[in-house]
Structure formats: C-alpha cells, structure tokens
C-alpha cells in the first residue's frame, strides 16, 4: 500500500453521486458484468503471488489511486486478460507474446531495481517505484540485457493500457467523474447542452 500523499482525494465535481443507485434499471447482462467488478474475485489464474503484488504496486501508480478494492479489481482484470487465449489484437514486431512480456518483464524490473537501488522492485519506496516506472515508460531504466527481449516501453504500455481500461470500468470511478454509466433499457431524452436527466450526476452546488 502506498503511503505519502493520499491519492484518493482527487476532487470530484460530483460528490455523493453513485451510479450504482440506478443498477436496478440496467439489463441483467450488464448488471452481472458490473457486479463482478465489486468482488470478491475468484482465484488467480495466470499471475504468481509475487507478480500479483507487483501489479498491485504498479496499478496504484498508473491510475493514481490506492483504494484496495479497486486495485484488486484491476489486477484481477489483468490476471484474466493475460490468462486468456483470445488474442492481443495487435503486437508490434519483435515484441514477445503478452504472457512472456509480462512474466519476463516483471523479472527484468527486479534486475533493474537491484542495479539502480540495490533491492527488488517490491522493496523500493514509493518515490523509487514511481521513478522506475517513469523510466520504464521512457525506455530509460537501468540497462540490463533482458530489455532486448522485453522492451521497456512495450511492457509499460501493455500494463498501462490494461490497468487504465479496468480502472475506468469500475463503478466507483464512474461515479467520481459523473459518468452516467450503463443505459439500457432506459433512454436519454435530454442530450443537448445544459440538459441533464433527473437521475444524472449533478455538479457540486448545482
């Protein structure tokens, strides 16, 4: 768990709004999909215990939030995604398949952490974790031969894109940003500027 500044206190324009209050209006398929994001989550399939812990740390930095239930959902999503055989959509030439990218990439992260800070990634303080991830994004983490197999930017982008997708699929985050959420079989009639449906999020003080 991260310490230091409290990440969860980004100011929402919509304090008190909860998209789940209207869950009964959603179709059953959507309801089931969203409900599963609230936990409890089934056994992990792909990640080891250590990898799970690392992804939890990384997720807190990527989405800038440390609410345990949301982080757990994100890592659960990653676990299922990496276990799945459906396909990656696209993979850049020279980049290994995502299972290898993640597994070998997290090992490489340890090597780079030891080289720069003298301990495993899991042993870094929050500031060092952040710095290593920022370096990873730029491809500037400490040089180790493993990066030629699992390029740093590819590793960072794969994690960031899955984690961000999962984070912005969590209903607590939908509520915070004032997103209306699922909408079927209900309909919108107020879509023009300045109009909101009675049940939609209202700006603080409005």
């Amino acid at each position: 768990m991260m310490t230091g500044e409290n990440m969860s206190t980004v100011n929402s324009h919509y304090a008190g709004y909860n998209v789940l209050n209207r869950m009964d209006e959603w179709d059953s398929h959507t309801k089931e999909i969203v409900r599963r994001r609230l936990g409890p989550f089934p056994e992990r399939q792909f990640l080891s215990e250590r990898e799970w812990a690392y992804l939890s740390i990384i997720a807190e930095h990527i989405v800038y939030d440390n609410r345990a239930d949301i982080i757990e959902w994100i890592v659960h999503h990653c676990d299922r995604k990496f276990a799945d055989e459906t396909g990656e959509g696209e993979r850049k030439k020279g980049i290994p398949p995502e299972k290898i990218l993640i597994r070998e990439g997290l090992k490489a992260l340890d090597h780079a952490a030891r080289l720069s800070y003298g301990c495993d990634f899991g042993g870094l303080d929050v500031e060092q974790q952040f710095q290593l991830l920022a370096d990873l994004q730029q491809g500037k983490a400490a040089y180790i031969p493993q990066w030629s197999l699992v390029p740093q930017k590819a590793l960072f982008n794969k994690l960031a894109s899955e984690m961000v997708s999962a984070y912005y699929s969590h209903p607590a985050v939908w509520s915070e940003i004032g997103y209306g959420g699922p909408m079927y079989p209900q309909i919108y009639v107020r879509i023009e500027e300045g109009l909101v449906e009675p049940w939609e999020a209202r700006r603080n003080g409005k």
Partner: protein
C-alpha cells in the same frame, strides 16, 4: 479464431433451423452456387441479394452469431469482444492498432460496433490520379456506384440532413435527420458557424423513426458496444436474417483456413473451414471472399498451391499491398460547462468542408470532421497508450471527463506499396501464419494531419473550448486487393472478380483503390450490392468466365 465465450451459440443457421453442431447441414454435401467467406458489411449484402435471386448461398463466419439482448452490454470493457482480437503482428513507422479500431468478429462483422456514420464517396475519390496525380484511378466511377448507394440507403432507411452540402448527393435521405443532437455536436456546429465553416447533422445508418419493427435511436450512446435496442443498422439484424429468410445457410464459429482450387489451378472449387477443432469442406461454383483488409489477403496468401505459389489471385504480386487506414486523430478541448459527451449517438454533426484538394493547404486530397462523443475507457485508454499520459495527470484530466468535447479527423491516407499485409513467421492455433501488417504515414498524410488538427482546434476554440490534447489514432482500413482494369496492376476487376481465377471474387474494403476521406461502410456496401447484381446476371448464364480482353477496360 475460435469462439471461447461463456455463452454457447448455435453454429448452423437456415430457415426454421438452428443447430449447435454441423450434423444437420442444409448444403453440407452439395456444391452450392456461391460460398461467401465473412458475414460483415460486404458479405452479408452479397448473401442477401444472391439468395433473394434464388441462388444457393452458404456464408461462413469465423465469429459467433450474436444475440443483441444477451451478448451485448452497456459496457466498454466487456464489449471489446465484438472486435477481431486475434493477434496480428504490426510493423512500420506508424504501426496500426487493430482489434476494435477497425474490425469486427461474428455475424454482422464491423457493422455491429461501428458508429453508423454513413457517407457516399465523392466523385474525385475515384479519380485521384487524373485529378491530383496521386494514387490510382478506380476502374469504376461514382456514377457506377450511384444506384447502389441509393439502394442501400433506401433498404436500411438511412437518416440524414435535409441538405448535404458536399459531394454529388445532396439528399434527401430516406429518413429525416436526427433531432435533437448532442451537446458535443452542438458545440462543434457552433464553432464551425463562427468560422464560416459549413456543418450538418450526420447521415447515419441509425433510425430516426420506426422501421421493420425496430425503434428510433434512444441516444444511449453505446453504438461501439453493440446496439441493444436495434435502432442502429447492423448486418446482424438486417441482411443476415433476410438472407436466411431467402434460403441462405449461415455457418458461424467457423474459420475458413483455405480456398480450394482444382488440379490445374484454373478454378476454385470451394473452401476448407474449421469448426470446434474439426475440418470441413464446402464446395461452391463461386467463392466470394469478404473477410476485410487483413484476413482477405492473408487467406489468399495462405491458400498458395504449386500452381499459385505466391498465393491465389496474386499473379500481379499485389495481394496485400496498398493498404490504407484513415487518420483517426482525436482532438479534445476543455469547456467551462459540462458537455457530457457520453450521451447521444457518438457522431451527430459533421463537416466535409476540407474534403477536396485545395493546393493552398500544402497537400492533396482531404478529410472529414466528425464531432465524436466518447466514453471513459476509450478516452482514458487512448490518452495512456496514444499520448503517454498516466498517473496523477491522467486522474486529474479524467476528473473533468464531463467537460471535454471531441472532434475526430477522418483523413484520406494515400496508397503506398510499402504499406501491406504479408505473412509473419509466427503461426496461429490453426497452424496458419499470422498476418504481418506494415504501415507508415507518408509526407502528404502528415501535412494533412497537421492541417486538420489545427482546424479542429480552431473550431473548438471558436465554440469556447480550450485546446487540450490530440491523441494520434487511425480508423478503418482499405486496400490490399485493389480493383483495376490491368491485371498487372490490380487484383480484381471492376466487378470484384479476380483477374487470375474467374470464379473467385473478392468483395470488401480490400478492393478500394483509394481510401477517400470519409467513413467507408456505405461504399463497402454499395460495392457489395453492385457485385451481387453482376453475379446474379452472369450466373443466370452459367459459370463465370474471364472477361473478354476488349471489355476489361470499360466500366
């Protein structure tokens, strides 16, 4: 790619029959008139038209037969399954995003998750070599497609503005324009108005009044996640059920792995496909490949024989070459008031003011602006992957999610032989080489993007927004089996018949010679309707033959 969804779907569909196995086939042991590979925008139209004319048709689709009520959901993450997610290897200076960005999987193909934006191409799109000295002219003109544009618009009740100011067709559309439009569309139109740029309500394959038991749009805004009320057209709910009603057999969760040829390699005899680990054959007098810009060339290349060592229909060596995406740059501006661009049909206002060549701009050809709503996952994910924004900065931007408006630049990309689909070393679960998709923007493309991004920012600024960020992206795909009159310089003729094998047709966006500067689905469907009319005509006279040389140059 096999279906691994939790929900079990039937795989064999024909009139009054649905089976989850292949033991009760309608045309299983028969040489049918036409076998179509792929049930997307093109294949479904061809299937519907041919079966209506009384031809025996089998359509083979790799993905499932979706049920909108139980398979779709109001959720971005879960609905990524509507895309063709099978891994493609991407390369080049500007490697493409695939998946949801440009392809569909399952009955209906990409129409299941497209935004429904429905444009005709302009006359100039078919003659860019003559007019602008770039690309190649098509072997057909706008006039050849015009009746088919009208037919498709009428068949599916396209809604559109009273007057569409650009191109040749100015309306009227079969159904009235959508009203009201969303806040995101309103600010776009206000910005255009302030700058003297014409804009209109979008022409859409989305109902503005009831049709065929389907309701008008409910503005829930989830077009890209599959329309649950069935207000948006998709081949899944229109052409496929009609094809079945006219007698066609649709096989789903069935991956075509090879197109088969006779011993001399002079004609195709059918296809080989895999369902649930079992290999089957379907014999046909004519095979139509409608598997889109990546899978169509891949299937042709993977069907190589000793008679066709470079792949089928590839004597020209052009199968897979000249692929073109559209630029899909998203331009965001922050407003003081809420926009809430998750509400309403995503694209409700557009402008083609910059569509035609104007050399003063420093580039040839042009683009369309679509005022384009978004949702949290799409916005945040593209900011992370396309603009490198994460952590505290991303969280802060997304806190203001409701205050952004967005315009998408759908720009024409010029054809280059270096942008192509080839086979990778790596293989998929069927043992077939994966597609390697190589793409790099050219000089003209980059100048157009710079122009479009600047104009979009001016429009949003004129409406009171502050330019916030630009996320580079692409959309749609075209080319790879271009049409033409010269068999040395093209893969298919003006009726989508392959130059090399007279009973092999290729009918989808891969036959595009240029990409145009507008969403391509209507043109894909118009070409499909034209190909169907041609097939009906010649098949009433026997098996398709090669065109006589004297006719090949005509259009």
């Amino acid at each position: 790619m096999e279906n691994r969804d939790f929900v079990k779907h039937n795989c064999d569909h024909y009139s009054d029959h649905r089976y989850d196995h292949m033991n009760k086939r309608k045309f299983g042991s028969k040489e049918v008139d036409v076998c179509i590979v792929g049930a997307g925008a093109a294949g479904s139209v061809v299937a519907c038209e041919l079966s209506r004319a009384g031809l025996e048709v089998v359509v083979i689709e790799a993905g499932p037969f979706w049920n909108p009520q139980t398979d779709f959901a109001s959720d971005e993450l879960a609905m990524q399954k509507l895309a063709w997610n099978d891994t493609r290897i991407v390369a080049g200076s500007d490697p493409l995003s695939m998946g949801h960005n440009n392809s569909g999987r399952g009955a209906g193909g990409g129409t299941v998750h497209f935004t429904g934006v429905f444009y005709r191409f302009h006359e100039s799109d078919f003659r860019t070599k003559t007019l602008d000295g770039v690309g190649e002219d098509w072997p057909i003109t706008y006039k050849d497609l015009e009746p088919y544009y009208s037919k498709i618009e009428q068949d599916i009740r396209v809604s559109g503005p009273r007057v569409f100011p650009w191109g040749t067709f100015h309306g009227p559309y079969p159904y009235p324009e959508r009203e009201p439009v969303s806040a995101n569309a309103q600010v776009f139109r206000r910005g255009c108005e302030a700058l003297g740029i014409r804009s209109t309500v979008a022409p859409l394959a989305i109902l503005s009044a009831p049709f065929d038991g389907r309701p008008p749009c409910t503005n829930r805004g989830f077009c890209n996640q599959g329309c649950m009320p069935n207000a948006k057209y998709s081949a899944l709910i229109h052409h496929i059920p009609r094809a079945i009603g006219y007698g066609a057999e649709i096989l789903t969760d069935s991956m075509v792995t090879r197109v088969l040829t006779d011993r001399n390699g002079e004609r195709v005899t059918g296809v080989e496909f895999v369902h649930d680990g079992q290999t089957y054959h379907q014999e046909a007098r004519v095979v139509v490949i409608s598997a889109f810009v990546v899978e169509t060339p891949r299937l042709l290349l993977n069907s190589a024989t000793s008679r066709h060592p470079g792949g089928l229909a590839n004597c020209s060596g052009l199968v897979g070459k000249y692929i073109m995406p559209h630029t899909g740059h998203d331009i965001y501006a922050r407003f003081d008031d809420e926009i809430r661009f998750y509400k309403g049909t995503p694209v409700l206002a557009v402008s083609q003011e910059f569509y035609e060549t104007d050399l003063k701009r420093g580039f040839v050809r042009g683009y369309t602006f679509n005022a384009h709503g978004s949702r949290p996952v799409t916005m945040a994910k593209t900011l992370a992957s396309g603009a490198g924004i994460w952590g505290k900065q991303l969280r802060e931007i997304m806190t203001d999610f409701n205050f952004y408006a967005r315009v998408t630049l759908v720009g024409e990309v010029l054809a280059s032989p270096d942008n192509r689909v080839t086979l990778a070393d790596e293989k998929d679960e069927y043992g077939l080489p994966r597609a390697l998709v190589t793409f790099s923007y050219g000089e003209n493309d980059n100048r157009m993007i710079a122009h479009g991004v600047a104009r979009a920012n001016e429009i949003l600024e004129a409406a009171g927004g502050r330019p916030a960020f630009v996320v580079p992206d692409t959309a749609h795909l075209h080319g790879g089996c271009r049409m033409g009159s010269d068999p040395q310089k093209s893969v298919v003729n003006r009726f989508c018949q392959s130059h090399d094998i007279p009973n092999l047709y290729i009918c989808d966006a891969s036959v595009f010679v240029t990409s145009g500067g507008a969403n391509p689905t209507e043109t894909v469907m118009a070409i499909a309707a034209r190909t169907a009319a041609h097939l009906i005509d010649i098949m009433s006279k026997g098996r398709p033959q090669r065109e006589p040389a004297s006719a090949a140059g005509r259009s």
